[in-house]
């Protein structure tokens, strides 16, 4: 796909997303909002997996921690203040990522994968076993955060449309932020680390600090997603931190194609779409899901975003590039 077509395509999708609530039912608007939140989640992981070369298998931890913070900050009979709750939950996710990063970034390769997983499990048990977050039953968020600043409310998250556009704005903001970060000197170093960390060291980069910064930023952005998810659905459970969630978000990143923010978004759409279809086909839908994953790994090495180009290449009689 050349860049012009790709830009037009992105704009068209964006226009569709913006216009959606006017035509679609509330349920589907909620679903689109969910996809957008998962897209934020997937993009945040892509910063690690696709751009820095860090395969984190515990990314759900930061998503879940932020979700818990907003739920815990919400009083039982009142809403929390959005402008306090959002920064607080994102900050909590970032701090957790920073501390865990100090440990896990000492390891590499397979170790890194397993250790990130194990630390996420640890966070899972903190919420599952201790009374802080309502234990295994989870907790309600009875009221969506209040957006009032000194008495003036620019929007109201209890209005489904307001919430929808708030999510859209957040997703665009995260996308834009990551775009900027990736072309900044910092982002360039991350990509260098992915390509050849050893050389980055010998060129004088303190790669550990860069990785830690990336890990923390990714955690914070996953926190944005977790915050929005908790607000959208009004319910928080330890399962948000489970390793299945970490697996799902990895799946989105690879389905879409790593190292490509648009791909992360496409991956979120694809995963939710597949789940919708498969669950409507059979109660053994996880079998179909599993088969799809296996097929995707074996036959679609570049992910969804690379597939059109590969198909084009084949149609044009290009040589096989599997």
């Amino acid at each position: 796909m050349n860049s012009q077509v790709s830009t037009i395509f992105k704009l068209a999708v964006m226009a569709g997303v913006l216009a959606f609530p006017a035509f679609g039912s509330d349920f589907y608007a909620e679903m689109v909002a969910k996809v957008l939140i998962l897209a934020i989640f997937a993009m945040s992981l892509d910063l690690l997996v696709g751009f820095t070369g860090l395969v984190s298998f515990g990314h759900a931890a930061y998503f879940g921690i932020a979700a818990y913070v907003v739920a815990l900050m919400t009083p039982k009979y009142d809403p929390a203040n959005l402008w306090l709750a959002l920064p607080a939950s994102v900050l909590a996710a970032a701090v957790a990522a920073f501390v865990i990063g100090l440990f896990v970034l000492r390891t590499k390769g397979i170790y890194f994968i397993m250790v990130t997983l194990a630390f996420a499990q640890m966070a899972y048990y903190v919420f599952h076993d201790t009374p802080v977050g309502g234990g295994s039953d989870g907790i309600y968020l009875n009221f969506k955060p209040d957006a009032a600043i000194a008495g003036w409310a620019p929007f109201d998250l209890n209005e489904p449309h307001h919430l929808y556009y708030f999510v859209v704005a957040a997703m665009l903001a995260v996308y834009g932020l990551l775009k900027l970060v990736l072309r900044s000197p910092f982002g360039r170093v991350l990509v260098g680390i992915r390509s050849n960390e050893h050389r980055m060291l010998s060129l004088g980069y303190a790669t550990f600090r860069y990785k830690l910064a990336a890990f923390t930023l990714a955690g914070a952005l996953a926190g944005v997603a977790g915050f929005l998810y908790a607000v959208l659905f009004g319910f928080v459970t330890p399962e948000y931190l489970s390793w299945h969630k970490s697996g799902d978000v990895l799946l989105m990143v690879i389905l879409g194609g790593m190292g490509n923010l648009g791909g992360a978004v496409a991956g979120a759409v694809a995963l939710v779409g597949l789940q919708e279809i498969f669950t409507s086909v059979t109660k053994h839908w996880q079998l179909l899901m599993g088969l799809t994953i296996v097929a995707a790994v074996l036959f679609m090495p570049g992910g969804l975003t690379a597939t059109p180009a590969r198909i084009m290449a084949r149609i044009n009689g290009g040589k096989s590039n599997v």
């Binding site: 679609g24 039912s25 234990g135 309600y140 919708e276 669950t279």
Partner: protein, 398 residues
């Protein structure tokens, strides 16, 4: 290569088709014209994972009652929308709102897992949809989180445990150790047991908890042996229940320290225990050889329809349908009116296979809790532990 290409193409096609269908579904004005003689039931139950067989039994029970009524409830055709909740709380609100907002169901029925049920109750409260819970026993559902439109056809964690507390005290045990998983259901069961047991003069010497779903019980068995209590009270279910009972027996403790359990310790698990469960006493709102005619008819019909014996889960599904019917009957064929249905359900007396029950103010069954004893492959009825026991519904402001 060719094969690979085909796979990819079909995959792409499937995804395109999916996209189109989602889009179409999204844009169609749903449920605008609803025929008055239909009632839409949304079954949200686990059909995969650990609780899959429970979800199936509940569904079977529910459908059996509808079948007995000639496929109709109170003259209304029943139309089902089914969602597998996977016992995954993180997908629960979404799954519930799928049934409520997309399929526009009149009634939500679900589910087994308490965490998922709590999320369903949240959706039901927010959307004012009628919800009937056919299993999940979290006390909160008919406690602090009770709502006019939330009903339960099963039990609260407190009920069987409380009944057992009294029984254990009556049997002369003074000093008891409790063991369960560290999750809300386990904690609530222990709390219910402790309340009744200590009220009757007993003393819970130690509450042991292990992380869910860990099943390495050996350290606890050792500790129990050294504490030497008069009896042990546990709550476990499924694979954990089987393993605990087997380990307890194999450690030789069953001979010296009697084991009591709340509810589901011995439901659907006796066969797998392979004899270790023999003689075990538990309390629940159902038993295998009740003598009421309703139960006998129910069991016979169920065995014919599904080629297996029904269990307590099937009963709870069956009763969920009965409760709904009582409510719908009051409409006398008019358009579905939730408030009227709720009103009728609140005062209903349900002729359940477990024995007739009524509903408390918080919409939880006021029911007899039976003391059962494992004999062979059955939970044989010993007697009624508590007659018409009502959950205290603490925190309910209704």
């Amino acid at each position: 290569m060719k094969k690979a290409q085909t796979t990819r193409r079909t995959l792409m096609q499937a995804m395109l088709g999916a996209f189109a269908s989602v889009l179409a579904g999204a844009l169609l004005p749903l449920g605008a014209a609803q025929a008055a003689e239909k009632i839409k039931v949304g079954l949200m139950l686990p059909y995969t994972g650990t609780y899959a067989s429970l979800g199936t039994a509940i569904t079977n029970g529910f459908k059996q009652y509808v079948q007995e009524q000639g496929g109709k409830l109170g003259g209304y055709e029943v139309e089902y929308s089914v969602v597998d909740d996977e016992s995954d709380p993180s997908k629960a609100t979404e799954n519930a709102s799928k049934l409520v907002k997309r399929d526009n169901v009149d009634v939500l029925v679900g589910t087994v897992h308490s965490g998922v049920a709590l999320a369903m109750a949240k959706v039901a409260r927010d959307t004012k949809t009628l919800l009937i819970i056919p299993n999940a026993g979290a006390d909160e559902l008919t406690g602090p989180l009770c709502a006019p439109n939330v009903f339960r056809s099963s039990f609260s964690a407190w009920q069987p445990a409380y009944a057992m507390g009294k029984i254990v005290a009556e049997r002369g045990h003074k000093n008891v150790v409790t063991v369960t998983w560290k999750y809300s259901f386990g904690e609530q069961s222990v709390a219910g047991f402790k309340e009744a047991f200590e009220k009757a003069g007993g003393k819970v010497a130690k509450e042991l908890y292990l992380p869910f779903p860990n099943v390495e019980f050996q350290p606890f068995l050792t500790e129990i042996a050294s504490l030497k209590p008069d009896a042990v009270f546990v709550f476990f279910a499924g694979g954990g229940a089987v393993k605990f009972v087997k380990d307890y027996d194999a450690a030789g403790l069953k001979k010296s320290i009697p084991l009591y359990g709340s509810g589901f310790l011995t439901d659907g698990t006796i066969d797998a225990m392979g004899g270790s469960g023999e003689g075990l006493m538990t309390t629940l709102h159902y038993a295998d050889n009740l003598t009421n005619p309703k139960d006998q008819a129910f069991r016979k019909a169920y065995a014919i329809a599904y080629k297996q014996q029904p269990d307590v889960y099937a009963v709870q599904g069956y009763d969920a349908a009965q409760m709904l019917k009582t409510g719908v009957d009051s409409l006398k064929g008019a358009k579905f009116d939730k408030d009227a249905v709720i009103k009728a359900m609140e005062t209903a007396k349900i002729d359940s296979p477990r024995g007739a029950f009524t509903l408390s103010k918080a919409h939880n069954p006021v029911q007899d809790i039976y003391l059962r004893k494992v004999e062979g492959r059955d939970n044989k009825l010993v007697g009624v532990a508590e007659k018409a026991l009502a959950d205290p519904a603490r925190g309910c402001r209704m």
